[in-house]
């Protein structure tokens, strides 16, 4: 296993391609080979639609925070961000067209530990999908993989091995975590990677802890700086009687699921 870290950069890059997906999902692609070489699965960028003070004076908008977005794909310098429009920040990104400028800070965070020769279960929920895509591309050659993904309806479903929807509109009906114990047994899984909303990760962590299976999860948190400065993104990690708030943007976003104090959230 190795962890990769590199100095984050602040960059402005033109969007060279924009893909519209189902529902409120879309992908923004930038092209930067040098940057691509620094990126690891599980890392993310703080991104934002280009903002200039001139905009502020001329129009009536105020500058807002960057938004943390995972690296979805990274091949030959083409870096993709797979985004769901949920609020003002992601909506501003949604409106961008090819050629428009994106502001980026990154790559950020620790990324997933990479392994070989393992039997791996990937579990994603909703917008937890993108980082696992990049991860499975790196893992697939030297490991056995099985990927389950859950969403609320059919527009939240993307390519993988097994799909769950809450409303049953596609794949199996229910929460993606429902089938995990059985899958782990059936497929002799010895490592789990997960990404999604905290309740899902917690559910997953309870199962893997019980079965004593190694499990890395990528956690979401509201962020301001993204670079470890503000301590705004902290989550409780450690043992019940010896723990601390660690920064999702710096010590994370990937944590050993067994070390996260899910009850202190």
């Amino acid at each position: 296993m190795k962890m990769n870290k590199s100095q984050p950069q602040f960059l402005e890059r033109a969007i060279y391609f924009r893909e519209e997906l189902s529902g409120d999902y879309f992908i923004l692609w930038i092209w930067d080979e040098a940057l691509g070489k620094k990126c690891q699965p599980g890392q993310f960028f703080q991104i934002r639609a280009h903002y200039s003070i001139a905009d502020a004076e001329e129009t009536r908008s105020l500058p807002k925070l960057f938004k943390p977005i995972s690296i979805y794909d990274n091949a030959e310098g083409r870096i993709g961000f797979f985004i769901k429009k949920v609020g003002a920040g992601t909506n501003a990104l949604y409106k961008l067209k090819a050629g428009d400028l994106l502001e980026l800070i990154g790559p950020l965070g620790n990324g997933f530990p990479l392994v070989t020769g393992r039997k791996i279960l990937l579990v994603s929920g909703g917008i937890g999908y993108p980082p696992l895509w990049y991860l499975q591309k790196k893992l697939i050659k030297h490991n056995l993989l099985y990927w389950v993904h859950g969403g609320s309806g059919q527009s939240d479903v993307f390519p993988c091995d097994e799909v769950w929807t809450e409303d049953g509109s596609f794949g199996k009906k229910g929460m993606v975590t429902e089938g995990i114990s059985k899958l782990i047994a059936e497929k002799k899984i010895d490592l789990v990677y997960s990404c999604g909303p905290v309740p899902m990760l917690k559910e997953c962590a309870i199962i893997t802890t019980e079965l004593n299976i190694e499990h890395y999860c990528s956690i979401e948190a509201y962020m301001a700086c993204g670079i470890g400065v503000c301590y705004g993104c902290a989550i409780p990690v450690g043992q019940e009687n010896d723990w601390n708030y660690l920064r999702v943007c710096k010590e994370g976003p990937v944590f050993n699921a067994g070390e996260v104090l899910w009850n202190k959230f």
Binding site: Q9, A56, C225, V229, C230, Y245
Partner: protein, 305 residues
């Protein structure tokens, strides 16, 4: 036309600084130096440290409102000993500009102890005494609201150091001028303001507080008019320099504070909004002064009505 060499040069008490731009405690760390020119900073202010390590407040700790940011960090920090052992050496190594150490205690005695401890360390140019954090109880802010306590604290600390002694005031008080004066009379060499103001936000759909603790600290552009009014008030009340902050996002905002009476300004939330904010503000102020052929010092407090 005569050229003014460095129109932005100023001084903070005894300390000469090459830039009137500094950063607000808790919003800037060495990581930010990857993005900006260190020389554009007049000083570097570190995140507030306390005597003992602090875990800080439970998450969520952040929420962005229409015009600013709520935070509820709760002074998470490694504590004085670890700061001295681990952080200070790196700061000394990395910084080429004066280091101001922000600290906060839970009693007058603890403030004194901390200062004594820090006095033994090299590479520190001044202190920012944080008596105004809204996110911790019985610490910080309890001190900042009582002029007598502020006065006593300064009177205790000032004889113990030759370094700059900046007192950071809370805006959550009835009359900031009284508190500023109390600090000055106690021997503070500068005051800084404002810390965050009380703020709250609630998810209208389900009544859930956006930050775990309910009330947090509100910063950013939405507090600028208040920060400017309090800067003006404080600057009218004291002779020592005022370091102003609160919603400064760009060089135009910064100029407003100099006119109102600030000798230096600090960028806080702006660092999150724009990693290049320090550079842009520095350069904007520079161009403004060159174009108008003036020294920034000359406009300090010169607001006209």
């Amino acid at each position: 036309m005569e050229q003014i060499l460095n129109p932005l040069q100023t001084s903070l008490g005894r300390l000469k600084v090459n830039s009137p731009v500094t950063v607000a405690s808790g919003t800037f760390a060495l990581e930010n130096l990857d993005f900006i020119e260190q020389d554009h900073l007049g000083a570097y202010v570190c995140k507030t440290i306390t005597r003992y390590p602090k875990k800080g407040n439970p998450p969520p700790r952040l929420y962005e409102t229409e015009a600013g940011l709520l935070n509820s960090i709760g002074l998470q920090n490694p504590g004085l000993d670890k700061f001295i052992a681990e952080d200070l050496p790196v700061l000394r190594e990395t910084l080429t500009v004066p280091l101001i150490v922000s600290f906060s205690g839970s009693s007058l005695k603890e403030f004194v102890q901390m200062l004594e401890c820090l006095e033994k360390q090299e590479g520190i140019s001044g202190y920012e005494v944080n008596v105004s954090c809204p996110n911790v109880e019985n610490e910080g802010i309890a001190f900042g609201i009582d002029p007598d306590v502020v006065n006593k604290l300064c009177a205790l600390l000032s004889p113990l150091t030759e370094r700059e002694l900046i007192v950071k005031l809370s805006p959550n008080v009835t009359d900031i001028a009284v508190i500023a004066k109390a600090a000055e009379e106690g021997g503070a060499t500068a005051i800084s303001l404002i810390n965050t103001i009380w703020g709250m936000a609630i998810d209208y759909r389900n009544g859930k507080s956006r930050i775990k603790k309910g009330i947090g600290g509100y910063s950013g552009i939405g507090i600028k008019p208040l920060a400017l009014a309090l800067t003006y008030r404080a600057a009218q009340a004291v002779k020592i320099p005022v370091i102003a902050m609160g919603g400064i996002y760009n060089w135009q905002d910064a100029l407003e504070f100099f006119w109102a009476g600030a000798s230096m300004i600090a960028l806080g939330t702006a660092n999150f909004i724009d990693p290049l904010a320090v550079d842009k503000v520095y350069e904007g102020l520079s161009s403004f002064c060159l174009e108008k052929q003036l020294k920034l010092k000359d406009i300090v407090g010169k607001v006209n009505k």
